[in-house]
Assembly symmetry: C2
Homo-oligomer: 439 residues x 2
Amino acid sequence: MKGQAMNTAPAPGLNDTHDPLLQSWVASANTPETDFPLQNLPFGRFRLAGDPDWRIGVAIGDQVLDLRAARVIDSNDMNRLMRLLPEVRRSLRQAISAGLRVGSAQQDTFKAALHAQSDVELGLPCEIGDYTDFYTSVHHATTIGKQLRPENPLLPNYKWVPIGYHGRASSIVPSGTGFHRPNGQTKAPDAERPSFGPCRRLDYELELGVLIARPNALGQPIAMADAEAHVFGLALFNDWSARDIQAWEYQPLGPFLSKNFASTLSPWVVTLDALAPFRAPFGRPEGDPEPLNYLASPANSSHGAINIELEVWLQTARMCQAGHAGDKLSQSNYADAYWSVAQLVAHHTVNGCNLRAGDLFGTGTLSGPNPEQGGSLMELSSGGKRPFTLSNGETRSYLEDGDTVILRAYCVREGYRRIGFGECRGTVLPARTLDQQTL
Amino acid sequence: MKGQAMNTAPAPGLNDTHDPLLQSWVASANTPETDFPLQNLPFGRFRLAGDPDWRIGVAIGDQVLDLRAARVIDSNDMNRLMRLLPEVRRSLRQAISAGLRVGSAQQDTFKAALHAQSDVELGLPCEIGDYTDFYTSVHHATTIGKQLRPENPLLPNYKWVPIGYHGRASSIVPSGTGFHRPNGQTKAPDAERPSFGPCRRLDYELELGVLIARPNALGQPIAMADAEAHVFGLALFNDWSARDIQAWEYQPLGPFLSKNFASTLSPWVVTLDALAPFRAPFGRPEGDPEPLNYLASPANSSHGAINIELEVWLQTARMCQAGHAGDKLSQSNYADAYWSVAQLVAHHTVNGCNLRAGDLFGTGTLSGPNPEQGGSLMELSSGGKRPFTLSNGETRSYLEDGDTVILRAYCVREGYRRIGFGECRGTVLPARTLDQQTL
């Protein structure tokens, strides 16, 4: 480690909302296994049966607190809430934390605003404006690069440019939504012409989603020092990918139909405030170039890595029928990403591009340094060449119809309460048969 | 020509709104040079000085008709209007046409709803959801390909896949907006490391924008036969491009910061109904593969090419000071595109991707078959290697600060009134100097 490795954990910004001894009068928030103790307080949107309107909620144990009903906010517009100044957002977090603590004077008001999470529908956390996907895991980029270009796996720009590209916002769906296996053009290397039909190399991508808070004006870059003030928080994100469609379509302008048929976002956005105790040292391997100035962390900055454990689980249709919760396919950690959240914000805006509240960045597939830490099947099955066996004897190289992929994430640190991200879940439905008119 | 060449012009769908003898009681609509005769009636949004709210208008001569004030519609929500069924949209067009004709009983009501275009602010025609850029000119793709890969200019997927990629919606600005030359990373081929600074190869791209009307549900492809019913109309679009930033960043996932600093959309959307008289034969050169079934036009379809003349004009700062309207740099025709609007819609949705009202497709740079018909400076100056001389003695290979690029388009056909698209205009402002904090 060198250079930015000087910025070591823990970050400043810890306050009484992070106190591990805090207990809530919501009993389920005090169990050791909950993702949502009083120290987390992630934001999301939910609605009640029969009411078409989304409300803003905060997860606490197995409950969700309706913020407007609790009189903490006066609007159900999440994007408006995201635009608040960071200090106002922090005050809001303080107020919610205070109201949910044992002994709070607001307990009665807040209690009347609670719903069991199992009773409500959880939606996308906000209206998503533009969605950008990055490629921040050098381990993922190297493994995929080796499959495509064995002699030149990592392109020369990788350690200079936080590689990113634009994705499709309309097809981002909330956790729990099934989607049909996409149809599309594919071409076998030895085929004379492409053929049309269902994707045969359907994959997931383990990512985190970064939700943008405050906008910047067109033409006004965001400096590294200000970057995290423009970030609302992180959620789980699965960028489903059709590898065979991608291979045929992506030259020269990048992935398109191979990615935009569906992407799944988890309902709860864990704020950077909640993640403050889990900041990690950030640096580059010895010998790697220093980032250009506009991507360099200011001295003594708390910016940099975040220690988030990430897991991918697969539950096949057979497992589901047998009441089997699924197999864990891989585990990795967000601290292994090559580019930080702040660097993504600074890079995205350095040309003057304007971000808006509710914009989403995907981190790109978060693979770890070891082969078993691949964040996609393309990595775990070596491009489909090495199918692996599941605990019930089934084998997989790519996803089959009926497969459910579940992403999970959590933060642990000695002396702090564990916080979690909930889950990001999606099920592969069979490809639609196109009718004669469409074909 | 073969295969789809069977679908020849003119399209059906002509009705009395296309009658070339129709005259309006708005005198400026009857001049031969206007872009906006009674036969055009393009939709856009405008606002009056002091009023922050956008209204829906239709251009007629040098005036704009406020549709709500004229009691033709009851809302100023353009995206809602775009979602109307095609037959309802057509009725709306009929009603506007009838009210603006000489002898209309509604003349007094409509007259009270007119504003001079010069008195109002013209904005983006709608709230843009997702923006996708295509690459439909085989001439552009071939010329650019020759510069990058002389031995292999056109990639093997080009004649099978309507190549497209996602762009940035937030930075799409209305015609007339200046934008700062972007800063970014570039790397000279012989340099050891990239450097940071203002783009030195700033370019325009002559495109048409396709505005989507009716949405489709996620997972529900749109068939070729239905595709045009999902299209609201066409506008002019300039996809400004930083070629030096693009060259360094775009592998392996496509263009990003080289494109998303600004794109300019013209205010008026010319509907497919207005374009009906200008449909053109559509086919592929002998020897080219037939498109796959899902991209094939139904028999006797009116889908296919549209005969739209396109022009690029450049007015330098010196020309502007001298009262010189600018030089015409190139002229091409949309009928030379390799993929039709219907094919773009069918391809974009064949995997189940959902379109929403207000989504924008760019056609990609619309270059003609001859070298002087290049729709970008990268083509006209051979990648900057052959600067050319303007009428006032200035030379250009790429854009200079103070340059204004103006796109224009119009349709002409014997026996029909000429209709035009107005203009799409943008000016290059100097790069911002990043402050010390940002750097």
